[in-house]
Symmetry: C2
Subunit: 202 residues, 2 copies
């Protein structure tokens, strides 16, 4: 048993492996970030909600930024993203990319986390930059790199910007006709715009 688990056991009075502490922290973090915003949610409050010592949060995630990235990571964890986008006609890559994200976000397990993510981000706080950096760098960076165009950072940034805008309209504002369209139909509609950031010369 690690020191962290002993700490947790002492506080909670029940046994818990590191995986369940880890998951309990992520679940508490998603709820607290959504409730109070990234800036408003404290590590202490998240620890209390997860019923663990706050030292364990720092042990697992180092910083609040790290915890936030871990908590929202699966919103962007589209399975086999690069392979899906690269396979097939290059002219359809933008639509495949859009479809992969929209199908993922429509998943009933993922969708509440999309909404929690947006609730966590207040216009001017640090979380917006963290989301942008994670989406553009870790998630879209490898996709853009696979197409080899110049200015990959700019391409990934604009692609991420447009995808997040569509998320916001579809899942948060529920703005029609975006909210009610099938994922595949909406993907066909935004496919050309996404394509321009993958393959257009600029």
């Amino acid at each position: 048993m690690t020191g962290e688990e002993q700490t947790r056991r002492k506080r909670s009075g029940r046994r818990a492996g590191p995986t369940s502490s880890h998951d309990a922290i992520l679940e508490a973090a998603r709820a607290k970030f959504a409730e109070n915003g990234f800036e408003g949610a404290t590590m202490r409050a998240i620890a209390a909600a997860a019923d663990v010592d706050s030292a364990l949060l720092h042990h697992f995630f180092l910083t609040k930024d790290g915890l936030f990235t871990a908590a929202v990571r699966d919103v962007f964890a589209v399975p086999d993203l690069v392979a899906t986008v690269v396979a097939g006609d290059p002219a359809g890559a933008g639509e495949r990319l859009a479809r992969a994200f929209l199908v993922h976000w429509d998943d009933p397990e993922v969708r509440p986390r999309v909404e929690a993510l947006i609730r966590s981000v207040r216009s001017f706080d640090g979380a917006a930059g963290t989301v942008r950096d994670f989406l553009a760098g870790d998630v879209l960076g490898p996709v853009v790199a696979a197409f080899g165009g110049g200015r990959p950072d700019l391409r990934a940034s604009l692609l991420g910007t447009h995808l997040l805008g569509v998320v916001y309209m579809r899942y948060v504002l529920r703005s029609e006709p975006l909210a009610s369209m099938e994922a595949t139909e909406l993907a066909a509609t935004i496919g050309e715009a996404c394509q321009s950031y993958l393959t257009e010369r600029f």
Copy 2:
């Protein structure tokens, strides 16, 4: 002198024509919406900040939505927008549209109002829908209509979504390389994506 002006004169002790009351309300509204968010700012607090009776706000703007739209209108008041986009090679329409907005937003008088607008909008409140409806309907609707493609509401909505995403990245998050690019260079970069919503078949 109107009843509203008499009311104002009684409260403030100084003479003011309807235009200056109108402008004072808009200025106070921009500041209060930015400070407290659309939901948090009350008509009463805006009236107090403008030193007018709150009945005058309702007289001029009917509702808080109406006041908000009036307060943010010039953020989207690109001069001669439709004529600028329609004139010239149709293949360059998307870039002309993007350039017209970016040059307008870079104007030192407009830019603080762009930031105030974003500060006013909290993720889930009514202001986000008001901005979307105004941009997609009143501002972009006539541009999209000029190109005659099907599903004009969908086109205007997605075009507006992308432009607002770029606003947010460039002026609020100040995310590089978007923040430091010249308006014309950034317009060339997002031009194809904008073009797809004007002329692509889907």
